[in-house]
């Protein structure tokens, strides 16, 4: 109890970071579940979101514009990438993954052409500045807001995927897309939409995360690496796994950075290697994901 109390702020930070990771991991895991494609350009969506926050939100008053821009740019980039991977559908998953790998280079280069290579900082929106006192601890308001936003996204995705007929189609596509296509559903449209939704969530995540993580060209790769760890631990294709993995990694990252700064990365990848060695398909992985 004493330890929990002493590290309460760190633990809350961990949840906030976990929520940001979840916003990356949700799209990654859905895209993988649907198309067996590890989207290595997913970090670029996050990157564009954070630069848009820098562009429109840096004076602390245009956050709605930044949000709209992040949604729009995320949707456009996601749609472009979904269309771009279409012609490779018959050529195996590796070629599609390699395409997204090239796209990540191109998008990161574009972002640095527009916004340069420097480290930028974004200040918290004025309405969410300051801190709130809960049970005797001062928590930064913004981190609590990030947690709320992440929970909203998680609940929305859960309700849509698990409780609506559109979600049933997505689940069916993850389970067996050939049968779904045979039943007359336009599977390519489903995949395209999931790509767009995943990109929008990641780019909004980048926007929300920018005051915490800072903005520079490396942030996309940095978050992508963590999100890859998250989806691998959680099991590729599983939204529940992505949420639990994200919270786990968020905490490992926050506690590690606070208590053993030089071993944070070691803890992180050590945890992943240990989980994969014991359970090669991740905690909630589908057997389907281990196919060739």
């Amino acid at each position: 109890m004493g330890w929990l109390d002493a590290n309460a702020v760190t633990l809350v930070n961990g949840v906030a970071e976990g929520m940001l990771l979840y916003m990356m991991a949700a799209g990654l895991t859905l895209i993988f579940g649907l198309m067996d494609v590890l989207n290595l350009a997913h970090g670029a969506f996050f990157l564009f979101g954070s630069y848009l926050a820098f562009q429109f939100g840096r004076h602390g008053n245009n956050w709605l514009v930044a949000f709209g821009a992040a949604v729009l740019v995320g949707a456009v980039l996601g749609a472009i990438l979904a269309v771009a991977t279409r012609p490779l559908a018959g050529r195996g998953h590796l070629d599609q993954a390699l395409l997204t790998f090239g796209a990540a280079f191109v998008l990161t280069g574009l972002a640095s052409a527009v916004w340069g290579y420097g480290f930028q900082s974004v200040s918290v929106p004025s309405a969410l500045a300051g801190s709130v006192s809960v049970a005797g601890h001062q928590y930064p308001t913004y981190r609590l807001a990030v947690i709320v936003a992440g929970l909203l996204v998680a609940v929305a995705l859960f309700v849509v995927i698990e409780r609506t007929s559109a979600g049933a189609i997505v689940r069916a596509a993850v389970a067996d897309r050939d049968i779904l296509a045979a039943m007359g559903v336009n599977v390519h449209l489903v995949m395209g939409l999931i790509f767009v939704v995943g990109a929008v969530v990641a780019s909004v995540g980048g926007m929300i995360g920018s005051p915490i993580l800072g903005v520079n060209t490396g942030v996309g790769d940095q978050v992508l690496l963590l999100a890859l760890v998250v989806v691998t631990i959680g099991g590729l294709g599983s939204l529940k796994g992505a949420l639990i993995g994200a919270l786990l990694i968020g905490e490992v990252q926050a506690i590690g950075t606070a208590l053993f700064p030089s071993f944070a990365a070691f803890l992180l990848f050590g945890a992943m290697a240990a989980i994969l060695v014991v359970r090669p398909q991740g905690l909630f992985g589908l057997v389907h994901g281990t196919r060739t």
Partner: protein, 352 residues
């Protein structure tokens, strides 16, 4: 017989020309291009080692720089604390690459597809963080300093520019030897079994091949050559830092293999030369060179999935088509069967 000579002759001539060009390079090239060529040759070894894993065995690794970096640190530490001898560093790099590949490969080979990619990535990130945080040994993210200039066989010291031609010959000989060794490996029964595992692992297993051991052996051989390349690179640059283990280098070498054409070895040669030269030219011209490299890479994925080696094969196929038609006319038999006979004899010859 005549047809066989005709078919094999161009390749032999090409190899001979290439060897002569390599041998003459210090006399024809200025200092800077010679340095670039030396660097390319080191990357060639590194890319070929990944090709052995990715192109021949079908194991896509996103953490292959781990073995390059381990070899590099081993050679670097030896040169700081014990001996500047280049050959000792080379052997130690090879050994360190192999040993670390046994340890990590034994775990990584158990997983498949994306999970294999993620485990290799995780191991290289682990090593990266060890190299960054174990300051007393590695110098942290500042890199290892105090590496003595490599002492080449014959006693000459290589120091950036001093004795560059000697160092170049040393690298060139090692690179050619590595190429021949790896060619031997991929054409051996062992190498053919690796191809079988790539194409149909279940069938190889049901035929009684110990697939796990074959894959692990491929992983270790690839790690050993990568470690050797890393030790050469450290002797070339007199420096080693965590970047030698990092994700970017793993990604770059994967790009080299893909652009060159996986599963051909000589594709890795073409790919490394292409990527290093492109990187140097682009980074001199634009700041956003990665974007252009990415675009080139995308173009390859779309239009030339078999890489530069595919282009070479296409050109070779056209040439052979023309020769085949001529040969068909003189022997009086149909060009189709005649051509396939020639192919069979040529393959048997090559396998002997």
């Amino acid at each position: 017989m005549g047809a066989r000579v005709r078919r094999r002759a161009p390749v032999a001539v090409l190899c001979l020309v290439l060897l002569v060009v390599l041998a003459a390079a210090p006399y024809t090239l200025a200092v800077y291009p010679l340095k670039v060529l030396t660097e390319v040759l080191i990357y060639v070894i590194f890319a070929m080692s990944l090709d052995l894993l990715f192109g021949y065995t079908g194991l896509a690794s996103l953490g292959h720089a781990l073995y390059f970096g381990v070899g590099g640190y081993t050679a670097g530490l030896l040169a700081v604390h014990y001996t500047p001898s280049a050959l000792v560093g080379l052997g130690a790099g090879l050994g360190a690459g192999a040993v670390s590949a046994v340890a990590t490969g034994w775990l990584a080979i158990r997983s498949r597809s994306v999970y294999f990619i993620m485990l290799t990535l995780a191991f290289s990130e682990l090593a990266f963080s060890v190299a960054t945080s174990w300051r007393s040994l590695t110098g942290g993210d500042q890199g290892l300093i105090g590496i003595q200039p490599a002492s080449l066989p014959g006693g000459t010291r290589f120091n950036g520019v001093l004795n560059l031609p000697t160092f170049y010959y040393y690298v060139a000989i090692v690179a050619v030897a590595c190429y021949l060794l790896m060619r031997l490996v991929v054409r051996s029964p062992f190498g053919l079994s690796l191809l079988g595992i790539r194409e149909n692992e279940a069938r190889m297993r049901s035929l009684g091949y110990p697939v796990f051991r074959y894959k692990l052996a491929a992983y270790v051989v690839a790690g050993a050559f990568a470690g050797l390349a890393g030790s050469l690179y450290v002797q070339y640059s007199d420096f080693v830092s965590p970047d030698y283990i990092g994700f970017e280098l793993s990604a770059l070498v994967l790009v080299m293999v893909m652009v060159g054409g996986a599963g051909t070895l000589y594709g890795a040669v073409l790919g490394s030369a292409f990527v290093v030269v492109l990187r140097d030219e682009l980074s001199a011209a634009f700041q956003q060179w990665e974007a252009v490299l990415g675009a080139v890479f995308i173009a390859f994925v779309y239009f030339l999935p078999s890489g530069l080696a595919g282009l070479v094969r296409l050109a070779g196929g056209l040439g052979r088509g023309r020769a085949g038609r001529g040969g068909g006319g003189s022997t009086g038999s149909g060009p189709g069967p005649a051509a396939s006979d020639v192919d069979l004899t040529a393959t048997a010859e090559a396998n002997r």
